[in-house]
C-alpha cells in the first residue's frame, strides 16, 4: 500500500460556465463551475483541474473570481490552467486560491518561464501541459510532436524530449493531452503516455480521450500515469467518481476510497 493514483475531473470553463468541447468544436453547456467543483469534492475526487478557455480580458476577471469561489468551498488541490503567460499571471491565480498552475503555450514561447516560476513559487505548483499529436514515424518508431492552438499548429518539438526539458527546468508535474484522442472517447493514447512517464522523474497526468472506466485503468496500468484526468464522462453523469474508483480498485489499482 502507498501513494494512491489520482482521479482528476477537469472543468473547461468559458466566461464563468463549464463547457466541454468535442474535438474543440461542439461546445455543450454543462453548468456552474463552483457547484460542479463542490460536487466532485463531495464525490471524492482527488483534485480538481480548471482549464480556462476564455478569450476576452473581461472573461479573465470572471475566471479569477470563479477560482476564488472554488478555493473557498473546496478543500482538495485545485489546478488552474489556460492563458497563463507570465509570472504575474501565475501569482494572480495562486493568490486567488489555486494550488497549482498549468502552463502550456507560454512554456513553448518562453521555456525559461518554467524555471523562473518554479524558482519563485516552488516546483510543486508548476504543471506543464503538453498537447501531443502523433506524427510520421521515423524508422518505424512512433513519434509525437507538440501542437498549439487546440491541436492545429505544429511546433516541430518532440513531446518526449520536451517533457524531459520541462522537468529539468523545474516543472513539478506534466499534464499530457493527446490531441489525437481528446474528445473522441476512444481512450488515452497509451504510447505517448508510456513514453513520457518513462522519460521523466516527475508525476504525469494522462488526459484526452476517456470514454469509459477501462480507459482510466489502461492509462495507469499500461500508460504508467500517476493520475488520470477526465471531463465529459463525469459532467454528463455517465459515471461518478466513486464508480470510477471502485472499478479501478477492482483492477488492483490503489485509490483513495
Amino acid at each position: 500500500m502507498g501513494l494512491a493514483k489520482r482521479i482528476i475531473p477537469c472543468l473547461d470553463v468559458e466566461n464563468g460556465r463549464v463547457v466541454k468541447g468535442v474535438n474543440f468544436v461542439d461546445i455543450r453547456d454543462a453548468g456552474d463551475p463552483v457547484e460542479i467543483a463542490m460536487r466532485y469534492n463531495e464525490q471524492g475526487a482527488d483534485e480538481i483541474t480548471f482549464l480556462d478557455i476564455t478569450a476576452s480580458h473581461e472573461g479573465r476577471e470572471t475566471t479569477v473570481h470563479t477560482v476564488e469561489q472554488i478555493a473557498e468551498n473546496v478543500f482538495i488541490p485545485l489546478t488552474v490552467g489556460g492563458g497563463i503567460r507570465s509570472v504575474e499571471d501565475i501569482r494572480t491565480m495562486l493568490n486567488a486560491g489555486a494550488d497549482k498552475v498549468s502552463i502550456n503555450t507560454a512554456a513553448i514561447h518562453d521555456p525559461e518561464l518554467v524555471r523562473r516560476s518554479s524558482d519563485r513559487f516552488g516546483s510543486q505548483c508548476i504543471v506543464v501541459a503538453i498537447d501531443a499529436k502523433r506524427v510520421d514515424d521515423v524508422d518505424g518508431e512512433p513519434r509525437w510532436e507538440i501542437f498549439t492552438h487546440g491541436g492545429r499548429r505544429p511546433t516541430g518539438i518532440d513531446a518526449v524530449a520536451w517533457s524531459r526539458r520541462m522537468a529539468e527546468l523545474g516543472a513539478g508535474e506534466i499534464l499530457l493531452t493527446s490531441m489525437d484522442r481528446d474528445g473522441t472517447k476512444n481512450g488515452f493514447e497509451l504510447g505517448v503516455t508510456r513514453a513520457i512517464t518513462d522519460a521523466v522523474e516527475i508525476p504525469v497526468i494522462a488526459s484526452g480521450g476517456v470514454g469509459n472506466l477501462e480507459h482510466l485503468v489502461e492509462g495507469i496500468l499500461i500508460g504508467g500515469a500517476d493520475a488520470v484526468l477526465a471531463a465529459s464522462i463525469f459532467h454528463f453523469g455517465e459515471y461518478t467518481v466513486p464508480e470510477a474508483k471502485a472499478y479501478m480498485a477492482e483492477r488492483g489499482i490503489e485509490v483513495r476510497l
Binding site: M1, G2, L3, A4, K5, R6, N41, G44, D46, A71, E72, F75, I76, P77, L94, N95, G97, A98, D99, D119, R120, F121, G122, S123, Q124, C125, G172, E173, E201, I202, P203, V204, D226, A227, R256
Partner: protein, 216 residues
C-alpha cells in the same frame, strides 16, 4: 473554544487556503500576519510553508518570524501547528538548495527522496511525492482524534523530515523510504502533508487543532 488563530505570513505562497480551511473548521477569527502583537494576541498559531527552503528561511529570518514562533511556542505556550515547509523549517538542516540551515527547534535532517527512488517491489517512484498517501499514526495524540489510522492525506514534497528523537514521531508515511509525516512535542504539532487540502480528514485534523489545549 477555538478563538483567534494567527497564520504566520512570511510572504511565501498563498495562505488563503489555510485560512479558509481553518474558518471552515470552525475558527472564530483567522489572522494571516507577521505582526508580533497580532500573533501575541492569538490563541493558537499556524506556521505554514511552501516553496524552496532557502527562500523561506531567508524571509522567516528577515521578518523575525523565527522569534515570533519561539515566543508563541515557549514563552506563551500556545498550541502551534506547522505545515509542510513550516515543519521542515523546524528541523536542524535541510539538503534542499545545496544545503540550508534551519531553525533547529526539533533536531533532525530534511532529506531528498533521492534518485532513483524505488518501492518495495523495485518499481521507480516519482519525485515529488505528490498525492494521497496513508499516514500511520505512531502515537496517540489529540490531533488524531476521530481520524482512523492509515487515513490518506494530501502530500506534495521532494524532501522529507527525519527527526533524531524518534519518540517525537506522531505519524509516518512510506514512499520508498519511511518519512516522518507528523511530529509532536508538547504544544507543537507538525505535519508534512497539507490538512487544508486533505478533504474531510484534513478538516477534522484542523478542528482537533482548534480544540486542542496544547497538551499531549
Amino acid at each position: 473554544m477555538s478563538g483567534v488563530v494567527a497564520v504566520i505570513d512570511y510572504g511565501m505562497g498563498n495562505l488563503h487556503s489555510v485560512a479558509s480551511a481553518l474558518e471552515h473548521a470552525g475558527a472564530r477569527q483567522v489572522l494571516v500576519t507577521h505582526e508580533a502583537d497580532k500573533i501575541a494576541r492569538a490563541d493558537r498559531v499556524v506556521f505554514p510553508g511552501v516553496g524552496a527552503i532557502r527562500d523561506c528561511m531567508a524571509e522567516i529570518r528577515r521578518l523575525e518570524c523565527d522569534q515570533l514562533l519561539v515566543d508563541a511556542l515557549v514563552d506563551q505556550h500556545k498550541p502551534v501547528l506547522a505545515i509542510c515547509v513550516g515543519m521542515q523549517a523546524l528541523m536542524t538542516h535541510s539538503e534542499e538548495n545545496g544545503g540550508a540551515p534551519c531553525l533547529d527547534i526539533i533536531p533532525g535532517e530534511v532529506r531528498y527522496f533521492g534518485k532513483p527512488l524505488l518501492d518495495e517491489g523495485g518499481h521507480r517512484l516519482k519525485v515529488p511525492h505528490m498525492g494521497w498517501n496513508e499516514v500511520r499514526q505512531t502515537m496517540d495524540h489529540p490531533l488524531w482524534r476521530g481520524i482512523p489510522d492509515m487515513t490518506r492525506f494530501y502530500f506534495v514534497h521532494s524532501y522529507y523530515v527525519d527527526a533524531v528523537d524518534r519518540s517525537l514521531v506522531a505519524g509516518s508515511v512510506r514512499y520508498g523510504v519511511s518519512a516522518d509525516a507528523a511530529l509532536a512535542r508538547d504544544n507543537l504539532f507538525a505535519v508534512q502533508f497539507h490538512p487544508e487540502k486533505s478533504d474531510t480528514s484534513g478538516l477534522q485534523l484542523l478542528r482537533n487543532f482548534l480544540e486542542w489545549n496544547g497538551r499531549c
